[in-house]
Symmetry: C2
Subunit: 204 residues, 2 copies
Amino acid sequence: MDSMLDERRDGSGGDTLVPPVNFSMVEEGVYRSGFPRASNFAFIETLNLRSIIYLCPEPYPEENMKYLQSRNIQLFQFGIEGKTEPSVSISENTITDALKVLIDVRNHPVLIHCKRGKHRTGCLVGCFRKLQNWCLSSVFEEYRSFAGVKTRVTDLRFLESFDVAALRHNLYSIIYQYQGYGAKKRRLLYKEETLQKPPRITSN
Amino acid sequence: MDSMLDERRDGSGGDTLVPPVNFSMVEEGVYRSGFPRASNFAFIETLNLRSIIYLCPEPYPEENMKYLQSRNIQLFQFGIEGKTEPSVSISENTITDALKVLIDVRNHPVLIHCKRGKHRTGCLVGCFRKLQNWCLSSVFEEYRSFAGVKTRVTDLRFLESFDVAALRHNLYSIIYQYQGYGAKKRRLLYKEETLQKPPRITSN
């Protein structure tokens, strides 16, 4: 089905769709959720995904992999352990690598997911919000609305300390700038397309 | 500012943006939140809104009204009381009227808001999800992720009983069908544009 409001001639609206647990739209072309099951494939079909960012170290299930291959959806895996010790935080490098994939519109529409769509996904989306200049309290509010009572202080600390200024400098060397907003089509452009390269940053 | 990732030449990323409380993207061109304050206007600017669906009976504050007028944003007000008696549910007719505005892409991008973005907004978005064929448990999950401990059983009952089949029939007479999905640009079409009118429904 390729209509958002699927109005059949009989008015029934067609089959019921089951989004993955904790599903939500993050931005145009960016979605988040818990682990998609076979029962969610009909819903996922409506998203026309080009890629998936999968944040667990476990191999992708065969059933899901087959579905991705049949739809030509690319899988980007970044193995982040689910249960971390309270003293251990998520790796900044891994999140930075995932962010680079996430903000590249050539990979959109993209679905980010881990197991429950709370902690690992919440951390990646939170860092993305910081890149979008969201204030920290709003980043936390969004994280909490998905993690609920499972909110982890280590994740909040990670989100607070994650350095987007340094990341922005790094990104200059490869990409990206969104053009337009809202009604207008947004896309990332290679810097070279429209902008002069900024001076190379050798230190901060 | 009209870039999603606002990368200034100095790498600072520009000013911090403050989304309204309980802000989220619902669909392409559809947003939801609590009541926007002046401190949120810079963020709202980035959404390029064409309209706002306001679900409270109280008059719109002058400051907000001025902002809307300066940006040529249309206000659609549907006065739904905030604190309802446990025995009183939201009016189906009011929600249906709001839905008709909501799904008309000529009003997009649109922001739905009430006071806290929990109950009235949650009911409207929930009915929209039913129109999109979401299963009821996913509709409830989304409602709860915003309402949290303030979840109201009356709202859940309203969402369960809201009749989208009847609404679909009604919509035939005026509108609309989304074309395409995800990467492709979605829009609603007047039925007359591409489809034959279905037989007039005189009873169900």
